[in-house]
């Protein structure tokens, strides 16, 4: 293959043998870079949620995508709850994680690829928060510089019974579950505590103060940034995955070795 390329290069005398590879690499880098730049711009785009134009845009989006279940005035129907007073935080969480619009009625709305752009999500949030006051999307300063060890203790007391002590998720009744917390954006964690989505209870600011919420976020971020010092985490599921690993890989390899040791040479 390489021989052929170099031969043809010599013949035409126009391109070096590695030119096509370099071109592809450049193309990929450009596309990827542009994508990253675009998505990070759209994620940090700040939109004035109180501007009438944005609210109007949100109202149209709402009528087209949400009203079937939540009602034309967000007053709620038999298929979905009222959204009056849920605030922009609830919208940003539900739409921003892809849970809304819901794909199908079920025990709880599942996380899926996000359906709206950041601007559209903000517009929806602006519309819903214009209906009645409610919890609003936290600012960046509300999410940073928490106390990790205090956060750990608060997490164990308030969150671990459903989300698991390592945030690996856990089962609830009737097919509901507390999702895995790895990979969840800090802003969504904050909003979840504030608004209590799906089957989660609300942790209002009297229950967990904004500083305590910040600590919990710092603890989760620490765990995500620092993998287990002991090696593979096996999904952080504790003794069940340890036992499975031991029986399948530990004892499995031991048995294979016993067979090898006692095998008769042919």
């Amino acid at each position: 293959m390489r021989n052929k390329t170099s031969r043809s290069a010599r013949r035409s005398g126009r391109r070096g043998p590695l030119a096509s590879i370099v071109l592809i690499a450049l193309g990929l880098a450009a596309t990827g870079g542009a994508y990253v730049a675009f998505s990070s711009v759209s994620a940090t785009a700040s939109i004035d949620l109180s501007s009438p134009a944005v609210i109007d845009e949100g109202s149209k989006l709402f009528a087209a995508n949400c009203a079937t279940c939540h009602g034309m005035q967000a007053q709620g129907t038999a298929n979905g709850p009222s959204l009056i007073g849920v605030g922009s935080a609830a919208v940003d969480f539900q739409v921003g994680t892809g849970r809304m619009p819901m794909q199908a009625q079920g025990p709880q709305a599942l996380k899926k690829p996000v359906q709206f752009t950041a601007e559209q999500t903000s517009a929806l949030a602006a519309y819903v928060s214009s209906l009645a006051p409610g919890p609003s999307i936290p600012t960046q300063t509300q999410l940073e510089n928490g106390n990790v060890s205090n956060g750990g203790e608060l997490f164990r007391i308030n969150c671990a019974m459903c989300h698991n002590v390592a945030g690996a998720g856990g089962a609830l009744t009737e097919g509901k579950f507390a999702p895995v917390l790895k990979g969840v954006a800090a802003v969504h964690v904050y909003e979840a505590m504030l608004t209590g989505p799906q089957n989660m209870p609300v942790f209002n600011d009297l229950n967990l103060t904004p500083d305590e919420k910040k600590d919990i976020i710092a603890y989760l971020a620490y765990n995500e940034a620092n993998p287990s010092p002991g090696g593979l985490e096996l999904g952080s599921l504790g003794p069940v995955s340890e036992g499975l690993f031991l029986w399948i890989f530990g004892l499995g390899s031991i048995v294979a070795l016993t067979v090898w040791i006692t095998a008769k040479s042919n």
């Binding site: 025990p107 990790v148 060890s149 956060g151 750990g152 203790e153 164990r156 007391i157 671990a160 019974m161 459903c162 989300h163 698991n164 002590v165 390592a166 690996a168 998720g169 856990g170 089962a171 609830l172 009744t173 009737e174 097919g175 579950f177 507390a178 603890y219 620490y222 765990n223 287990s228 010092p229 002991g230 090696g231 593979l232 985490e233 096996l234 952080s236 599921l237 504790g238 003794p239 069940v240 340890e242 036992g243 690993f245 031991l246 029986w247 890989f249 530990g250 004892l251 390899s253 031991i254 048995v255 070795l257 016993t258 067979v259 040791i261 006692t262 008769k264």
Partner: protein, 533 residues
């Protein structure tokens, strides 16, 4: 050989051994022990794996005792693990964290200790299954089965006391369950837990007490029973699988010295290597994630180590609301019934060799193992037992099954509840049928030989497939097994038939009524003669 050993030894080894022998007469023991024969089969090494894991546990455990503080005094953690800095915890937890993060090689030792412990119990379990399904527990080895059973229970106790020591959240949750189970015992339960924990749970004594059990009492008893277990293996000689030249009166294999000792010694390092590999690559019991024990939080997905799982499963499967108030006490049947089921199950495991010996009335010594198919009733009982255990075991991870297979928790629990009853029955029936079918196949093979795939057209137009007789070596394995018949119900010397005798005869019939008799030499000769005509 002995003449060589007694005189004219040259070189350091020779002189040293001569020196020893003249003072201890050890050569007799070495000769006797060294010439013991061990048959070679992979499944005979499972007990050795357990033994080696125990040695690894002893070595790594001794290291850990140098640094662990078995105390529940409250201290403030100041070690190097950031998310727990400044948190109050017991000295036990704090010292375990120090072993993990601030002691060179400490975390590796902890992980070696814990992985070896999991392997220890698993190897014992697999070893027990091998012994059960091959009938190695039959006379004269019933007592050694009992000793092995005690070792199994001791290993579980060692495991439980061990993982309760660090006083982390998970271990405290486990102790809380034990506390609850003891509390459920009528009348004396409350008194016993107060005695155990030195007051209201969790108290401040339990870690110290478990430590004494874990590093002193239980290992001492374990060691005694291991020595007994191995002594019996030597006294009884090792069992062997049926095969050409293997009889009830010989042992075919390698002598301990030098072949087997070299293999076994090398195997120790292989097992150590596997454990060390696991311990260096895979986290086990990350107490730093669980945090210090505090009675209020319980994490989702809280499970015991695998060998206690079946007990946890029993508690999860029992239907709720089984409580009665009687004589001023609450009788928590939802706890007492699982405890009872577990005790009955363990008792059945312990007693099985004696029960089978009584039912079959077999008083012969057995040194040749059964192929599992040749004891259909026993193999089926074993399969039922394994299924029962496996369902309880699976139930311990019901919540993790629910989240990972995207099913409802109630669905998992209800399915397992049904399986706990139906599973063993189905497993029994299917296994017995499979065994009988395999026996039938063996019988056909022994009688007619195997199908060659060569189709021959006879002069009359008939097509037949040519069968070729097995050679004598291959046939040996297929025909040499015990033919057990149901016991006849005969009056005893007093001329009476007691209820016990009736029960025994009924059980014996249940055991042996479906059976395939082994091919006898005359039968085979007759068959050969017929096929020639």
């Amino acid at each position: 050989m002995s003449t060589v050993a007694t005189n004219q030894q040259t070189g350091f080894v020779g002189k040293a051994s001569n020196y020893l022998d003249e003072r201890t007469s050890i050569s007799g023991a070495v000769k006797e022990f060294g010439r013991k024969i061990f048959p070679d089969h992979w499944s005979f090494l499972l007990g050795e794996v357990a033994l080696y894991s125990f040695v690894i546990i002893l070595l790594s455990g001794s290291f850990l005792t140098f640094f662990f503080q078995a105390s529940m005094d409250v201290v403030t953690y100041t070690g190097s693990y950031v998310p727990l800095k400044g948190i109050e915890m017991s000295a036990a937890m704090s010292s375990t964290l120090d072993i993990s993060f601030d002691l060179r090689g400490g975390l590796l030792m902890r992980q070696i200790h814990h992985w070896a412990a999991l392997l220890f119990v698993a190897a014992i379990g697999l070893h027990m299954l091998r012994v059960f399904f091959t009938g190695a527990f039959r006379k004269p080895r019933e007592l050694n089965w009992s000793i092995g059973f005690v070792l199994f229970v001791l290993a579980m106790a060692e495991g439980f006391t061990g993982y309760s020591l660090p006083d982390d959240l998970l271990s405290g949750n486990g102790l809380r369950i034990i506390d609850g189970m003891v509390n459920a015992v009528p009348v004396v339960g409350t008194w016993i837990t107060f005695l155990l924990f030195g007051g209201e749970f969790p108290g401040s004594d339990i870690v110290g007490r478990l430590y004494t059990l874990h590093i002193l009492l239980l290992p001492a008893i374990l060691l005694i029973f291991i020595v007994l277990h191995l002594m019996f293996v030597i006294i009884h000689k090792h069992t062997q699988y049926p095969g050409p030249g293997k009889t009830e009166n010989n042992v075919v294999g390698f002598p301990i010295l030098p072949v087997y000792a070299a293999k076994a010694g090398g195997f120790f390092f292989i097992v150590f290597g596997v454990v060390a590999l696991m311990a260096s690559l895979v986290t086990i019991n990350p107490i730093w994630v669980y945090g210090p024990y505090d009675p209020s939080p319980v994490s989702a997905g809280t499970q015991p180590d695998w060998y206690i799982g079946f007990a946890d499963g029993a508690l999860r499967l029992i239907p709720p609301h089984l409580e009665t108030v009687w004589l001023g006490y609450v009788w928590s049947w939802n706890i007492l019934i699982p405890i009872l089921i577990l005790l009955v199950f363990l008792a059945a495991v312990f007693a099985y060799p004696f029960i089978e010996a009584w039912v079959t009335g077999d008083k012969r010594e057995h040194h040749l193992l059964d192929r599992p198919r040749n004891a259909p009733a026993r193999t089926a009982i074993g399969a039922a037992g394994v299924t029962f255990y496996a369902v309880l075991w699976a139930a311990a991870s019901s919540d993790i099954i629910a989240t990972h297979f995207k099913v409802t928790m109630e669905g998992v629990i209800n399915t397992l509840q049904i399986l706990l009853i139906l599973g063993p029955i189905i497993a029994f029936a299917v296994t017995k049928r499979v065994c009988l079918a395999l026996q039938k196949k063996d019988r056909t093979m022994a009688l007619h030989g195997f199908e060659t795939g060569r189709i021959v057209r006879m002069p009359g137009g008939e097509y037949i497939e040519v069968h070729q007789q097995l050679d004598e070596y291959d046939r040996w394995k297929l025909v040499s097994f015990n033919d057990n018949a149901p016991l006849m119900l005969r009056p005893n010397p007093k001329g009476k038939i007691t209820g016990g005798m009736r029960a025994r005869a009924r059980l014996s019939r249940w055991f042996f009524e479906d059976r395939i008799a082994p091919v006898t030499p005359t039968e085979h000769a007759l068959e050969l003669e017929q096929s020639h005509h």
